[in-house]
Symmetry: C2
Subunit: 111 residues, 2 copies
Amino acid sequence: MKALKYDANGLLTGVAQDADSGQVLMVAMMNAEAVAATLQTGKAHFWSRSRKKLWMKGETSGNILDVQAVKVDCDGDALLLLVKTRGPACHTGNVSCFYTDLDEDYVKPIV
Amino acid sequence: MKALKYDANGLLTGVAQDADSGQVLMVAMMNAEAVAATLQTGKAHFWSRSRKKLWMKGETSGNILDVQAVKVDCDGDALLLLVKTRGPACHTGNVSCFYTDLDEDYVKPIV
């Protein structure tokens, strides 16, 4: 029996990667319910910490992520979802949520 | 002033992706110190929750991840590190930590 390793809040990290382009699209948390729903439906589901609810990515926008494969990492606390997109993955309209370079403005201490 | 969004434990998610192959290599947590060390040295640093210490990936194995670029996601709580590898990223000797398919054994309820 293999087990996923959820944290104290019952969550693990989900990373969605475009199965075709290889682009990393988004990172979001998943609880056991989100993992099960993703596998059962073939559509990426996550757990919203702010809204405290299960959500299917694209349930509002239509930009569902169709899951081709799911990989688990060596310590069982992160999942890699290889997906096909139906539109931009980011709610901003960008293809990926990672559209911003981390520059020094982000790490400069506030003085 | 832009800000990264750390969780209640002062952590955010770091995803390392091979800048050449596009392969997602590993996921690990980063605190502010790990982010700063990564940017300052150009080598991926993370925060070990189990050992409660900052670590440079490869400090023991030599399989350092040389960081080419860092992207931040739309809500500021995840970083994508585009890296060059010097060897397998996973401590198991696999190129990536995501070498296992998530199968039903992982999600079957224990009865």
